[in-house]
């Protein structure tokens, strides 16, 4: 199968899952206690008010009509409006900045996980059973046993409470305003997020790079007198494949990790929003967040599949 066809097929196969996510996000409205009517009418709302609200929100329409109305809104960028926290504000506008914050944190965390994980893993693969290898194996077990939010609290305590760095506790990440300060504020959350996942990357990198040097085809290439740089390139190409498989998953985990880490550092990302949305029964916001989080996970997996297909012809069949 050609690469093009393979990518097309992966895209198509992601569609049913995406549709399922929209069902789940939509259905949330009906399983949350209270629901939008209670939220709008308040504790003292009269039964008459509630009936009127139901009518206004179109909650008396058949389910599929309500779903179609919602989903067509979603496709045109209209996710509904805020009711409690900032009445009348469109959700899309509300979420723009928090999404950016979460995006930067996820990216920072992924970078830390990759750079630390790949380099430690590669170094210990080159010198197996050295003190460095022992240290890296121990630290990879340690890091993936440590939850990211715990690490976040420790970092916050050390740098914010003991050393009293202002950037350590600010949580202000806005690259349109202050790039340097934003980078500083990102540092600790990114380390907390990335370090916790670096262990798993390091372990897989070490194992794969170590194994690949003994693969028969690498041996054959050496015996056939191919230059060293060519052989090393082939080793990296083949060794990287299993690392790619955990990549999407790891980034997904880091994205999920940002929710709690944001709360620890007070960074205004969607994690902080999610908690508030749940507390205040801001149902449209909650729906949108569920939709976004689900979609991000599906896209990460899709990206992994595509990357794998690009790198390894065997999976294209």
């Amino acid at each position: 199968m050609s690469l093009f066809k393979y990518i097309g097929r992966r895209f198509v196969s992601a569609i049913p899952t995406l549709i399922l996510i929209t069902f789940l996000a939509f259905g949330l409205l009906y399983v949350t206690p209270g629901g939008p009517v209670e939220a709008l009418a308040g504790i003292f709302g009269t039964p008459e008010q509630k009936v009127r609200i139901r009518e206004e929100l179109g909650l008396n329409d058949p389910l599929h009509v309500q779903y179609l109305r919602w989903i067509s809104g979603v496709f045109s960028g209209d996710f509904g409006e805020m009711i409690v926290m900032a009445p009348g504000t469109p959700i899309a506008e509300m979420l723009r900045k928090p999404l950016l914050v979460t995006f930067w944190l996820t990216l920072g965390g992924a970078l830390v996980a990759l750079v630390v994980g790949l380099s430690i893993g590669a170094l210990s693969a080159v010198r197996p059973n050295s003190w460095l290898d022992g240290f890296s194996r121990l630290s990879s077990i340690a890091t993936y046993s440590i939850p990211d939010f715990w690490l976040a609290i420790i970092l916050l305590f050390v740098f914010g409470v003991i050393f009293r760095y202002r950037w350590a506790i600010s949580g202000q990440i806005d690259f349109s305003r202050n790039v340097l300060f934003s980078l500083q504020s990102m540092l600790l959350p990114a380390i907390a997020l990335g370090l916790a996942k670096a262990g798993i990357v390091a372990r897989i990198t070490r194992g794969e790079l170590f194994d690949v040097q003994n693969k028969p085809f690498i041996q054959f290439e050496r015996i056939m007198g191919l230059p060293n740089r060519v052989v090393i390139k082939d080793m990296l190409h083949n060794g990287i494949l299993p690392i790619v498989t955990v990549l999407g998953y790891t980034i997904g985990l880091i994205f999920r990790g940002t929710f709690l880490v944001e709360v620890v550092f007070g960074a205004p990302g969607i994690g902080l929003f999610l908690v508030r949305a749940a507390k205040t029964q801001e149902y449209a916001l909650l729906q949108t967040l569920v939709l976004i989080i689900g979609t991000v996970f599906i896209l990460m997996n899709l990206l992994t599949d595509i990357l794998y297909g690009v790198l390894d012809p065997r999976v294209r069949t």
């Binding site: 041996q219 050496r222 056939m224 007198g225 083949n238």
Partner: protein, 325 residues
Amino acid sequence: MAAINSADPLLQVDNLRVHYGAGRQRLNAVDGLSLTVDAGQTVAIVGESGSGKSSVAMALVNGLAANGEWEADHILFQGEEISRQELLRLRGRAITYMMQDPSGALNPVLTVGEQIKRVLKYHTPLSKAEREEQAIELMERVEIPDAASRLDAFPHEFSGGMQQRIVLAMALAPSPVLLIADEPTTGLDVTVEAQIFALLDRLKRELTMSVVLVAHDLGVVATSADEAVVLYAGKVVEKGTVAALFERPRHPYTIGLLRCAHDLHDENVLNPIPGRIPGLGERPQGCVFHPRCAWKTAECEAAVPDLIQLDGQSVACIHHESLTD
């Protein structure tokens, strides 16, 4: 290249030793093997698993595992004494190698065309366009049907037999004078095995190439090889022309090996050699084969037997005269 004196053997290696590990953990895998390969000849190295036969093949192309080391008293290539370094420089060019397991020998992420063309790129002066042409020609030579259109296929799209043909095409790409084939049909069907050996035989003649064939199957040796070296626990127990060895094996081990094969036609189906080959660290004193030998005497345990030169073959057994098949 200087004119080759046809009287000189293509490759001669004297007293080859292979060992793994160092110091107290040093284990000898091959102990004093001498090998002479004439131009156009196939020399088989025969033995059970653990006899050290693959270590010989790997030593010649410097492909031993990281803890493996080898030396030889003399290496002569086309009549000239060369160092190990010079031998190393010949690999991939004058001496190439065929891997044991075809499914693992090809890089899974590159097309077979790329892999053949790469060998051409580093070992021949051909231009890019010529390499493309040559790659197709090589694939045709190893009888891959529809070669031109298969150039862009990946290894996993071929069967095991076809994969081994690709490996052979790569090994033939630099026009070697010596091909070392390490059990080239491991894991293949018997019919495919026969095809590969027939192909190897034909190409060897067409290209006037010599072959060192590592094998455990005596049937293969009988049909493809001119000479054979029988290896047991790292020691040469017998060597000679295939005709002589099959006509009159002199060493108890060779006799045993032939019996395992011969008696397939008889009523008693299996006739194995009792016992098993000793591991690297448990080689016995005296003759390495004596614990499994039906003819052993006290003398066999006392001293390592020398290779005794006879007509057409040599044998390392003090009792060779009194043995009957």
